[in-house]
Amino acid sequence: MSAFPLLSVRDLGVTFHAPRTLLGRRARNVQALDKISFDIHAGEIVGILGESGSGKTTVGRCMVRLQQPTTGHVSFEGRDIQALSGADPGWYCRQVQMIFQDPAASLNPRLRVRDIVAEGLDIHRIGTRESRREAVIDLLASVGLGADALMRFAHEFSGGQRQRIGIARALAVGPRLIVADEPVSALDVSVQAKVINLLRGLRERLGLAMAFISHDLPAVMFLCDRVVIMYLGRVMEIAPTGAFRTQPFHPYSRTLLALAPGLRHGGEGRIPPTPDHATAAPDLHHGCAFRNRCPHAVAACATVVPPLQQVTPQRWVACLRPEIFHDAC
């Protein structure tokens, strides 16, 4: 791992402003992200794990400049991606590409596969017309599709094949980082395995870095080198996958591991009781986001926002009670 990260997210905050209602009242603004910080190094697969509403998708959108951060910044090789100007936004598009959850909705139904995959090459004027055609065939081959796919439309393919087309499109411009937002969630179990293998193979072959955004704990643990655990717009824990699995530090991480079907062994063993959903979202301006579902919460948890602190050289945790995992450090 090189000393300088490929991409770093620093103190990222996004607030969605609610529109005025008919009566001119303002509904509450939604703070989707609150001081998110993490790094992705070259060739590294980082899992961004969280439940719905945790802000994981918004982080991904900020990383590809689809969402303007309210505070903080994302930088790629030390350059703030919001401050890019002139030809540089185009340069950034070639460095970072995205794969979406729903392959049916993210492929243009009126374009042939050839044109879907070649679109990026055309826009960025990469190569000649002849070489582009060659390139598309190579790209399709690299995701396991034959040249017979070229002239067909997206609807002629199965879900897994469509996701492969989406991956080929992302690879076309030769990116160094892929942001994959739930790329396997919509797929059948046996197809999921094929796409996960493909993503891992691409990393081995091309040295791609990847942000793998998912709520699927086993898939994240299988594919990723490190995990970033998010909850209600904040980072709860960052850890290497292996260490996270044996010894999750944050109480929320422990809950997740205890609940994941099939992983439920050791530790608590039993499903920890979680309070009702209506009370799950506390006042986020003060205190820890997880406090009212946390078995270890104390009075201070309701007043102080726990900062993300480095507890070992590779691990960060946002918890006011380090003593609950201290013996593990």
């Binding site: 179990v189 999921q192 299988f222 209506a278």
Partner: protein
């Protein structure tokens, strides 16, 4: 668990869809029963026929599909058995939401956005039990409390959009159990939900069957989800049940190559011990399921199966007992060649 009288008996169920490409055999000779208080999981990938099976029980097949053969005998305790396959619409309408409750995957699209959740729960009671509206609304609050919704008396007046996904799914369960059904059909009820919410919904379903003796048919594509939850598992492939047995037996010692392959695909089974370095590639299943309009001769899984021999490509393998004592059956003629530790 083998009570005297099963709540539902499905016998030799065949369902055909008439399409432009020909007749699609969506469900092929499916037989099973569910005892009161039992949870049976129907597991399969998309196109395996699991949802079509559940829709046929409710008489909700799309117009192009019809039951081409078999019986669907529903026999709630204290009532005469009814064959749902031949019963007239009038009878089915009484049973839907009355004797049989159903919950769907998408709690957003299956609730009426223009009615309060209380009214939607009360509707079932008014229709099936001739309850008066006031009593029905009071009972709706009790039902919301039973599915773990806080402040149920206030929540009765809420609209679906004011609730989270997990709460809406609880409302769906409350509607489904309002008339104390003998059978609850749950079609992917937790697929759209978060892990923590999913665990809560499963807990509620477990409690309900314990308290009311309701039978549950749980339809899912997620094998690892039902391991601890279901009593029995039936694995469907290409419209057929290829394996059924006690949940533990099926998960730890699968007797059909498809079940074993499906289990092997799960990332959770390949995490290895920490410090081993990167785990190897995930095993995958080559090829695709067969086209059900042109079903190949022999075993439907033979062309993807790494154990298939010539005998697999002819004839029609029947479900046969691999372990009669535990009711563990498989549609593989070569199941004896599968090692016992296969799925461990």
């Amino acid at each position: 668990m083998a009570a005297s009288c099963p709540a539902l008996v499905v016998e030799g169920l065949n369902i055909h869809f008439h399409t432009r490409r020909g007749v699609v055999h969506a469900v092929d000779d499916v037989t099973f029963d569910i005892a009161p208080g039992e949870i049976v999981a129907l597991v399969g990938e998309s196109g395996s026929g699991k949802s079509v099976t559940s829709l046929s029980i409710m008489g909700l097949l799309p117009r192009i599909g019809h039951i081409a053969g078999g019986r669907l005998v529903f026999q709630p305790a204290g009532h005469a058995p009814v064959d749902l396959a031949t019963a007239p619409e009038k009878v089915l309408r009484k049973i839907r939401g009355g004797g049989i409750g159903m919950i769907f995957q998408e709690p957003m699209t299956s609730l009426n956005p223009a009615m309060t959740v209380g009214e939607q729960i009360a509707e079932a009671l008014v229709l099936h039990h001739q309850a008066d509206r006031r009593a029905a609304l009071a009972r709706a609050a009790d039902l919301l409390a039973a599915v773990g919704i806080a402040r149920p008396r206030e929540r009765v007046g809420s609209y679906p959009h004011q609730m989270s996904g997990g709460m809406r799914q609880r409302v769906m369960i409350a509607i489904a159990i309002a008339c104390r059904p003998a059978l609850l059909i749950a079609d992917e009820p937790t697929t759209a939900l978060d892990v923590t919410t999913q665990a809560q919904i499963l807990e509620i379903l477990q409690r309900l069957r314990r308290d009311t003796g309701m039978a549950i048919l749980f339809i899912t594509h997620n094998l690892s989800l039902v391991e601890a939850f279901a009593d029995r598992i039936m694995v469907m492939y290409a419209g057929q049940v290829v394996e059924c047995g006690n949940a533990r037996d099926v998960m730890t010692a699968p007797r059909h190559p498809y079940t074993k392959a499906l289990l092997d695909c799960l990332p959770v089974r390949h995490l290895g011990r920490p410090g081993d370095g990167a785990p190897p590639e995930l095993p995958t299943i080559p090829g695709h399921p067969p086209d059900l309009a042109h079903r190949p001769a022999g075993c439907a899984y033979a062309m993807r199966c790494d154990r298939a021999h010539d005998a697999c490509r002819t004839g029609h393998p029947d479900l046969q007992m691999a372990d009669a004592a535990h009711g563990h059956a498989t549609r593989c003629i070569a199941w004896r060649e599968m090692s016992v530790a296969a799925g461990a």
